[in-house]
Amino acid sequence: MRLVFQLAIRNIWRQRRRNGLVLFAIVFSIGGVFVMNSLARGMEHDFLRFSIENLRGHVKILDAKQLDEPGFRHLIPHDTNWSVLARPDIEAWTPRLRSPAVIMSERETRGVEIVGIDPTREKHSFIKDLNIDGQALTDASDQHLLIGRSLAEELKTGLGRRLVVLINGPDDNAIETGFRILGVFESTNRNYEDAYVLTGLSSLQTLAGVDGFTGVSVYLHGLSQIPEVQESLAMELPNLLVASWADLDPFTGEMHRFIGFTVYILIVVFLGTLVFGLINALVTAVLVRIKEFGMLRVVGMKSHLIVLQVVIECVIIMLLALVIGLVTGLLIVLWLGDGIDLTAFAAGVEAFNMGTRMVPHLVVEDFVILGIASVILGLIASYFPARRIIKTPILQSLREG
């Protein structure tokens, strides 16, 4: 083994220019796959984050009729047994009251969704990251209003001004009231600025004359816990709908799955393409030395040792390229750490529930799969030249080269 390893190392160095080019091609491919995967994972992460942070949570509890008829008519009773949410796999849960509403300034009118929140419990939704000009809501009883920058501009209003909000009560009676703008928020997704106006939860309950919630968002420690928690809560709360984020947002759910799959397709396509070039380069490299291999066989080196030598040469190049490729990819990803600015395409990317910065995201599993795939690729690629050597009759090998 030591002998074969020694020969392999020295032969790699001997053909350093050729092997250097092969190495460069593999580094380029692996580095490229790594960066592309990180960006795809970034997109996937964005999709997931925006969907979960968009007032859904990992799991959401609601009255099933809310899906068809959002508003105050189909609420979760406030005296529901919430102790079922006291589980170690649930990180937090937040009740909210939401309803379609019409909002009017002195000049403009817009359709929005008014959301009653308990600001002290909003630690996991997009609300925690809002950049607020003015003041934030203090508690659930806060009677002021937060509106988005984009909406404020459309309504031609601003901080401290009054707005009129018109909602449908639980009995379809129109309820109209005035709110003073406590703060104007900016979000990483402008859709939020257009779509939501925020006020205190109990304040909105009082206004609508209800005491329940339209939904309870449940936040978990990880995605893998969703099925178990969802099933368990569905059994504990048989009169309510317990839906995952993907159930409520199937488009994003599918996109999330699709990108996860795309990452593996990218690995297969890039490395699959590489394998042909690699086999070609290795077969050529081996043909140059076919006489030498013939001589090794003449003096008593067995076929399996010859195959082993070729395989070791190939795997060494592959492993070296893998390390350099991953480090290069990692450096590029770190360099892109702040993300790629997509502001120019803001309307498009926000429509896809993505932020205006594409930030690469590293997933350890991808490192491992890329590493294993590369080594397997090296083994496959080395098989063909090795087979060529041992299939060539010894005397023919000696005459060639």
Binding site: L3, L7, R10, R14, L296, R297, V299, G300, S303
Partner: protein, 225 residues
């Protein structure tokens, strides 16, 4: 143990198709005794190299039987033939055929390494073999850093270091000038007389023939009486 190192019995080697057969060897029977230094001579195309290849297990005869040091080659698998070459034969080629990435001492050690000899012993034996062929100062030189004559001496050292039953040399002087050939033949003679190695060399070089004890003349694949 028999007294012959190599014996062929009615060996025939046919190339080409059944329709147009080309006879490289026709019923060659010969015996080389242990410790002999024999040359196989004859014009180009007479079958010298083919005979050497058949004896060396590098190709199989179409008919007939080859025995090397009590081992009948015809019944062996490719893997077993490789073992016979490793343990019972040494080879010297016209083109030296050293491993370019190994130094002189490593080239000689290579055979012992394949045989599983421990590091210390094989290093000592390799150096001793190189010294025996006047290569004391060239242990660490790679083939590309040595002359043709020096490379051929390393090749002999590699061929004899494992004390093979027979050393096969195919046109060993083809790339050497007469002075170097003479020197090379003296080393072959030294291997034969001092180390007791049986040597069978295919050559058409009269200088080489002059050093051998017996000539086997081949003409058109047959031994000429």
């Amino acid at each position: 143990m028999s007294e012959f190192a190599v014996q062929t019995h009615d060996v025939t080697r046919i190339y080409g198709s059944e329709v147009v057969p080309v006879y490289a060897l026709r019923g060659v029977s010969l015996t080389v005794d242990v410790g002999e230094f024999v040359s196989i001579v004859g014009p180009s195309g007479s079958g010298k190299s083919t005979l050497l290849h058949v004896i060396g297990g590098l190709e199989r005869p179409t008919e007939g039987e080859v025995t090397v040091s009590d081992t009948i080659l015809g019944s062996l698998s490719d893997s077993e033939l490789t073992d016979v070459r490793l343990y019972k034969m040494g080879f010297v080629f016209q083109a030296y055929n050293l491993i370019p990435v190994l130094s002189a001492v490593e080239n000689v050690e290579f055979i012992l390494q394949l045989q599983g000899v421990n590091r210390k012993e094989r290093r000592e034996r390799a150096k001793e073999a190189l010294r025996a062929f006047g290569l004391d100062d060239l242990f660490d030189r790679r083939p590309g850093e040595m002359s043709g004559g020096q490379q051929q001496r390393v090749a002999i050292a590699r061929a004899v270091v494992s004390n093979p039953a027979v050393l096969l040399a195919d046109e060993p002087s083809a790339n050497l000038d007469s002075e170097t050939t003479k020197e090379f033949c003296e080393y072959l003679q030294h291997a034969n007389e001092d180390h007791g190695v049986t040597i069978l060399t295919a050559t058409h070089d009269p200088l080489v023939m002059g050093y051998t004890e017996r000539h086997i003349r081949l003409v058109d694949g047959q031994i000429a009486e």
